[in-house]
Each structure stands twice: as structure tokens, then as C-alpha cells.
């Protein structure tokens, strides 16, 4: 009986049909790509948002405050539903107004945009705090040597803030990988959605959700390792703290 279960489990998870392995891996791939896109977009928004909050004019700062407050206050699921349907709707209204046909927004692009906007709000705060932790004297030394502002941000401030930002950014990355599961509500074929379909079709709920859990865990462990390496690199030049 046990042997039978084990072999049928393996069969279910096999790469090619009748196994559902390929579907799960395709879902994982989609999840990772969306998470990467969202994390990247969030990081770009975060750097811009942090600089805007720190050095921008009053209007820009108010707008950014509204953005970070609202996005961080509303549950991600609600935001995804609002942004996905509202944005699709708005785009189509505009297209109709222009006399064009309706379009179907790709779940992939919408997923990156929606999760990226959410990530950006958190990243803005993470990076703002990290920039504030950069020793002012080092920035001043660069200014005193006539370094233009853009170069100074790229070569001095941002590398210096990285070691302080990375732990927070690593958290955001893990949240991004898991938040991709929320896209299942708009029917996008990421890992959770593929798992649900496989489980529904075969009634092997336990098998498939355990398998999905294992894949999420593997993703999280390998990214934890990558972030640890990145942090060591960002801390180059800083003597290790010993308690």
C-alpha cells in the first residue's frame, strides 16, 4: 500500500504527462520571473522614492508619502484586484475612447506592475533608511572633490547604503516570491495556480501542495544563500563585528 502510494506520487510529479511536473515547473518559472520583475521594479521605484523623499520638493514628498502610506496600508490582495481590474478597465476605456478594440492585459505584465508598485512602497522606506545611515562625511568628501550628483549617488551613496539595505531587501524579495501566489486570484498561471489545477484534476491535494511548498522552500533557501553572499560583498571594507 505504502509502495503503491509512493510510486503513484512519483508518477503524478513526473515531468511529462500523465505527471504534472512540467506544469509545476512552468508555474515556478512564472513565479520567479514575476518576482524578479517586481523586485527589480520595486528597487528602481525604491531608489527614486527614497531620493525623492529625502531631497525632493514639498509636492513630490507629499505624493510619495501618500503612495507609501496607502500601498502599505491596503492588503496586497485587495491592491492586486483593484490595480488589475481597474488598470485593465482604464486602459480599455481609453482604447475605446480612441476608437480602438479592447485588449486583454497580459497577466505577466500586470503581475509585475502590481507587485512592483507594492514592493516599491516598502523599498522606498528600506532604502531611505539605508541612505540616512551613510556617513555624511564620505558623501561630503565626494562633493568636495567635484563629483557630479548622479555619479556620486551611483558610486558612493548607493554602494555605501547597500549593506544597510540588503537585509530589508532580502525580506522584500521573499515577500515578492510568495506574493506571486496572490496572482492566482486573477487566474495567472504561477506556481500556486498550477498546483491548484493539478491538485483539482487528480484530487491528490496533499501531494501537490506539499510539492509546491517544497519548491517555495527551495527558492527561499537558495535566495537566502545568494543574499548572504551579496551582503558579504556589500560589507567589504567593514571589519567584522565580534560580540
Amino acid at each position: 500500500m505504502l509502495a503503491l502510494t509512493a510510486s503513484s506520487t512519483l508518477e503524478l510529479l513526473q515531468y511529462s504527462p500523465p505527471g504534472w511536473g512540467a506544469n509545476l515547473l512552468r508555474g515556478l518559472m512564472n513565479s520567479v520571473l514575476i518576482a524578479l520583475g517586481a523586485f527589480g521594479l520595486g528597487a528602481v521605484i525604491g531608489v527614486g522614492g527614497a531620493y525623492g523623499k529625502l531631497y525632493g520638493g514639498p509636492v513630490l514628498r507629499d505624493l510619495l508619502a501618500i503612495y507609501t502610506t496607502v500601498v502599505r496600508a491596503v492588503p496586497e490582495l485587495v491592491l492586486i484586484l483593484i490595480l488589475y481590474y481597474a488598470v485593465t478597465d482604464a486602459v480599455n476605456q481609453i482604447l475605446l475612447g480612441l476608437g480602438q478594440d479592447r485588449i486583454q492585459i497580459s497577466g505577466f505584465a500586470a503581475g509585475i506592475a502590481v507587485l512592483g508598485i507594492v514592493q516599491g512602497a516598502y523599498a522606498t522606506e528600506v532604502i531611505r533608511g539605508a541612505i540616512l545611515s551613510v556617513p555624511g562625511g564620505q558623501v561630503e568628501a565626494a562633493r568636495a572633490m567635484g563629483m557630479p550628483a548622479g555619479l556620486l549617488a551611483r558610486r558612493i551613496t548607493l554602494p555605501l547604503m547597500l549593506s544597510a539595505a540588503l537585509p530589508g531587501l532580502a525580506n522584500l524579495w521573499l515577500i515578492a516570491t510568495k506574493d506571486t501566489a496572490l496572482l492566482a486570484v486573477v487566474g495567472f498561471g504561477e506556481l500556486t495556480q498550477e498546483t491548484r489545477q493539478a491538485a483539482g484534476a487528480t484530487k491528490a491535494y496533499f501531494t501537490f501542495f506539499m510539492a509546491a511548498g517544497g519548491l517555495y522552500l527551495a527558492l527561499s533557501i537558495s535566495s537566502g544563500w545568494l543574499f548572504a553572499r551579496a551582503e558579504r560583498w556589500a560589507r567589504r571594507g567593514q571589519p567584522e563585528l565580534r560580540g
Partner: protein, 258 residues
């Protein structure tokens, strides 16, 4: 600085009618000063007298409230609020003034060599091999040849300050600005940094040096300025300022610093 009539050395740094306020607090109340090329101007004065502020106004790390700064005879263009009007001009002028800070301010994520070549390579567009060769020469000169690949945090304060001086020299500046370069150092490390500055003085470099090291100021300076309460209270050649002070305040100040 020289009052001698007929001195034809080109002027390096000229401050005219410099005022600076932080909110209600007026820190500089009309300071005028000129350094010709090769001059070594030592700025002395009590804590809070405005020495650092004056130095920082020269390269516009602080925005003057009023007055004018001229570098090599070229006036820094300013907006009505006193801030630099022309980004390129102020960047170019800053590149021509090597500033050395009390806290060294080396970039902690770059090795000593990377600190030295950063601005020459990425801002001044010096070819990298040339910049590295120049940096290595300068590191050897300040006694840090073997520390090129080391990160700043692994050096002593004296070594960091010598590296910071080399970093400023690596831009081949027209003049050097020192703001209390030895004040953050343990007493036994002061000498090695002063030796480097003395070496620069000997080769005729233009310098403006804020310092609490009176003996050193007397030894290397060509001109000494005593700042009190945001104004130049007394100035002159070191023998006069230290040997024969005129104002009571300067006499008192010199007594208080020993």
C-alpha cells in the same frame, strides 16, 4: 599671503567680504583674505570662531550668505541666494581644491588605491593606468605603498589621514585646504601627518590650514590669520602673530593654548 608690494605671484584663493549665517547665528561677519600661489596660510582661533565655516565656504560646501570667492582669479558665479549658479564651474573649482577633513572621510567600500583613483578616473577621465601610477607614487610618498589594496577601516587614524591627503593630491589640485587634519588623532599619530604636510609645504604647495597645532603653524605658515567671533582679529607673518601679538584677545588666546 603677502602684503609685499610688487608681489607678482598669481593669486590662488581670494575671499572677499564673506558673511555666513546659520539661521539667526552669524558665524562669519565679513572676512577678506587672499592667498597667492605658494602661500601657506594658517588659520587659528578659538572653538566656534568660524574657522571651519570659512574653509568650507571656499569650495561651497557651505553656501556663503554674502561675499565673493575667487579661485585663481576666477569668481565663483552665485545665485541671489548665494548658492553656486553654474554646476560645472563649481565642480571644476572643487576639483582644483584638495580638501582634507578632520575625520579623514575615506570611502569605506573602496581600497586605498581605489580611493585615490576614483575621481581622477571617473570624473577627470585620466586613463586608468596613468591614475594608478600617480596614485602609487603618492602612496609611496606618504609612506603607504604597501597599503594600496587595504580597506580604510584596517588602517590607523594617522595612516587614514595620510591616505586622505594622497587622495586629494591625486587630483593635482591648485591648492590644498586642511581642516584640523590632526585633531581626531591620538597624540602619537599627529607627527606622521604633520610630517607629510611639512613635506608639501617644502615643495611650495599652496595651502590653507586650520589648525590647533600652534608650533606647527609657526613653523610652516607664511601667513597666520587669527579668527575671533567671525572676524579676522589679527594677521601677519608667523613671527609677528606668535612673537609679538598686538590684540589682547590674541594674547589671551595664545596663552590659553600654551
Amino acid at each position: 599671503m603677502s602684503e609685499t608690494a610688487g608681489d607678482t605671484r598669481p593669486e590662488a584663493i581670494r575671499i572677499e567680504g564673506l558673511h555666513k549665517s546659520f539661521g539667526q547665528l552669524e558665524v562669519l561677519k565679513g572676512v577678506s583674505l587672499m592667498a597667492r600661489e605658494g602661500d601657506i596660510v594658517a588659520v587659528i582661533g578659538g572653538s566656534g570662531s568660524g574657522k571651519s565655516t570659512m574653509l568650507r565656504c571656499i569650495n561651497f560646501l557651505e553656501t556663503p550668505s554674502a561675499g565673493q570667492i575667487l579661485i585663481g582669479g576666477e569668481a565663483v558665479a552665485t545665485r541671489p541666494d548665494g548658492s553656486p549658479a553654474n554646476r560645472r564651474q563649481i565642480e571644476r573649482i572643487r576639483q582644483s581644491l584638495g580638501m582634507v577633513f578632520q575625520q579623514f572621510n575615506l570611502w569605506s567600500h573602496k581600497t586605498i588605491l581605489e580611493n585615490l583613483i576614483e575621481v581622477p578616473v571617473h570624473v577627470l577621465r585620466v586613463p586608468k593606468d596613468q591614475a594608478v601610477a600617480r596614485a602609487e607614487r603618492l602612496l609611496a610618498r606618504v609612506g603607504l605603498a604597501e597599503k594600496a589594496g587595504v580597506y580604510p577601516a584596517f588602517l590607523s587614524g594617522g595612516q587614514q589621514q595620510r591616505a586622505a591627503i594622497a587622495r586629494a593630491l591625486c587630483m593635482e589640485p591648485r591648492a590644498m585646504l586642511f581642516d584640523e587634519p590632526t585633531s581626531a588623532l591620538d597624540p602619537e599619530l599627529v607627527g606622521e601627518v604633520l610630517a607629510v604636510i611639512r613635506d608639501l609645504a617644502a615643495e611650495g604647495r599652496t595651502m590653507m590650514l586650520v589648525t590647533h597645532e600652534m608650533k606647527f603653524a609657526r613653523e610652516v605658515a607664511s601667513h597666520v590669520v587669527y579668527l575671533h567671533n567671525g572676524q579676522i582679529e589679527e594677521q601677519g607673518p608667523p613671527e609677528a602673530v606668535f612673537g609679538n601679538p598686538q590684540s589682547d584677545r590674541l594674547k589671551q588666546f595664545l596663552r590659553s593654548v600654551g
